[in-house]
Symmetry: C2
Subunit: 362 residues, 2 copies
């Protein structure tokens, strides 16, 4: 059966759902005043289930890994539609700046091995030969944790969706129910609706306990005379704060990310910029010579546990939100699940853990 599908939100999740659903033959309308923006525009671009893993969050790890397995096919389909997500397969390195950090890395490595994931621990000398200019007394190599160019991805998804006939409406949803979406300027009738409104999804359905978790990132560019960016994604914890450096093609580098509760305040803070630059200069001192191109803030859609909300909320009303730091990673598995439900098929089994009713809301 071909559905008339409404997708609320045109970030990476909404665009992926819209594109895959349209490619499967559904008629799709995306509601978003500025598709391709929002949190996914500000993201670092990591596809990193392993280095985001945490003891007790195995369901999130499995869901992330399942989505990462689907990423090459997702990228190939995008490529067939004329797009390019800028997928980098150089991998990730997690760096310890001192002995205390090294102990923590050991704990992480042990945990990952206990759940069957292989990582390689290397000394500082090996790190320096692999990534010149990166400081560290020890490091974990995680070749399976990848990265995409989030902005290329968003532009590609937007174009691919249009190519498959997806209609974009410059409007905002106020209320969602079975068979209809009420918007700022009217009402849209549909057979099914997907709530993919990120941090703003909570106001659309009471079961969606998501809140904004603000993040700031900086975008930098190597000068001709400075050391080029690392080849891998480099992560560390500097003075208790996570810092990552994600290289882009052409000498660009994304530096992230702060993380705090600030409601929907979109401004960039002096403290965040200072702490990111200080942390990055500890990790990769050459960054001091880089040009600072952009500062930006966005809102992760955080749930109370580590899992997103993917599933049917009411008849024909689906959730695809709450992806926290992992929206880019989880876009393929989320889109595949929604399309499976629309087509009356079984979704990937790992999404069961992301049932939007798991917290007892209704």
């Amino acid at each position: 059966m071909v559905n008339q599908l409404a997708v609320v939100g045109g970030g990476v999740i909404g665009l992926s759902v819209a594109w895959r659903a349209a490619a499967a033959g559904h008629r799709v309308t995306v509601l978003d005043p500025s598709p391709g923006r929002g949190a996914s525009w500000v993201a670092g671009g990591m596809l990193a289930p392993i280095t985001e893993a945490w003891p007790g969050e195995e369901a999130a790890l499995s869901l992330g890994e399942e989505s990462l397995r689907r990423w090459p096919e997702f990228a190939a389909a995008l490529s067939a539609d004329g797009g390019d997500p800028g997928l980098s397969t150089a991998g990730t390195v997690v760096v310890a700046l001192d002995r205390g950090d090294a102990d923590q890395l050991g704990v992480l490595a042990e945990y990952l091995r206990s759940v069957g994931r292989e990582v390689e621990s290397v000394a500082g000398r090996r790190l320096r030969s692999l990534e010149p200019g990166v400081n560290g007394v020890r490091a974990l190599l995680v070749p399976g944790d990848l990265a995409v160019d989030n902005r290329r991805l968003l532009r590609s998804l937007h174009a691919a969706a249009i190519r498959h006939g997806v209609k974009f409406v410059d409007d905002d949803a106020i209320d969602v129910g079975p068979g209809r979406v009420r918007t700022v300027s009217g009402e849209l009738n549909c057979d099914a609706v997907v709530i993919a409104a990120g941090a703003r999804s909570g106001r659309l359905h009471q079961a969606l306990a998501v809140r904004p978790l603000k993040g700031e990132i900086l975008r930098l560019r190597a000068r001709r005379t400075s050391l080029p960016p690392p080849s891998r994604t480099v992560r560390a914890v500097v003075e208790g704060r996570p810092v990552y450096l994600v290289p882009r093609a052409g000498g660009e580098l994304v530096l992230g990310a702060t993380q705090y509760e600030a409601g929907f305040d979109e401004t960039v803070g002096a403290r965040g910029v200072r702490e990111l630059l200080e942390g990055a200069a500890r990790l990769f001192p050459s960054i001091d010579e880089y040009e600072l191109v952009e500062t930006a803030a966005g809102f992760r859609a955080a749930s109370v546990d580590a899992l997103p909300f993917i599933g049917e909320l009411d008849e024909g009303v689906y959730a695809a939100t709450g992806h926290h730091r992992n929206g880019l990673l989880m876009a393929p598995v989320t889109a595949d699940a929604i399309v499976a439900w629309l087509d009356g098929e079984a979704p990937p089994e790992q999404v069961v853990a992301a049932d939007p009713h798991r917290l007892g809301g209704k």
Copy 2:
């Protein structure tokens, strides 16, 4: 005699010269692809001859003070023409963050007293009562060093110049000689020409030994919940680097300024932003809670000594450039000098020291 005057450059100097000359009855054309921009757009806005003073640079101090004496009348004339430079008369405080800085402050205070300028030295406790939230073990109060809102000033000068019939031409000068300016798109004939092209003046006349001295500034804004900016301009040297905070009306704060040789590279550097934010957080920790609104870079027009170039270069060809950190301060005396020469009158005596031929160039 009424001249047809060409002014090359529409920064604070060029606009001031053009406005005052037009008000005196001359017919003026300003050549600048983007008038009101350039270094004066990026400036902090300090009118601070005293706290910029340095032993051995008494001629610059006298010239700066003479211009500051002319500032109230300059501002009143601008006001009569419908403008408003946002002149703040709250004064300046120079802060010592530790005992070593305090010794340096003592040396500066002693020098200023030796040349007859009164400054008041206060203890840290008094500083905290005067400027809540500002750190310091000791401070010098310099009530006579003022500040303007550089961007309001530039907009006001531009509007006042237009009001007096100044013509603005979106073009760039390539070569200047008596009676003519050759530009990218043609030639302009005139009775007199003023070179006020800031750091780019050197290419227009061989006697003008000016070079670009890059500076980066940040513009910040207090949040509703944060401590408001200091009421005075606050200056200090943090780890050998000068830092200043210049408050603006409405909770804005300009934080400056880095200073280094980088040719005409206009990009903002990661190191500059990091060091400014670190220095400011030492001086005024509440700045961490502020919004970072803008980062920008500009080029001071530096001469080899501390003085600008103000005077006749060749017959009918005048220099009004090389103002280094003091263009906003020295705009009134510079404009008055040029207009005096045009009208065959005596210029302010302090500009003799700024003779463009003093270095032996020709």
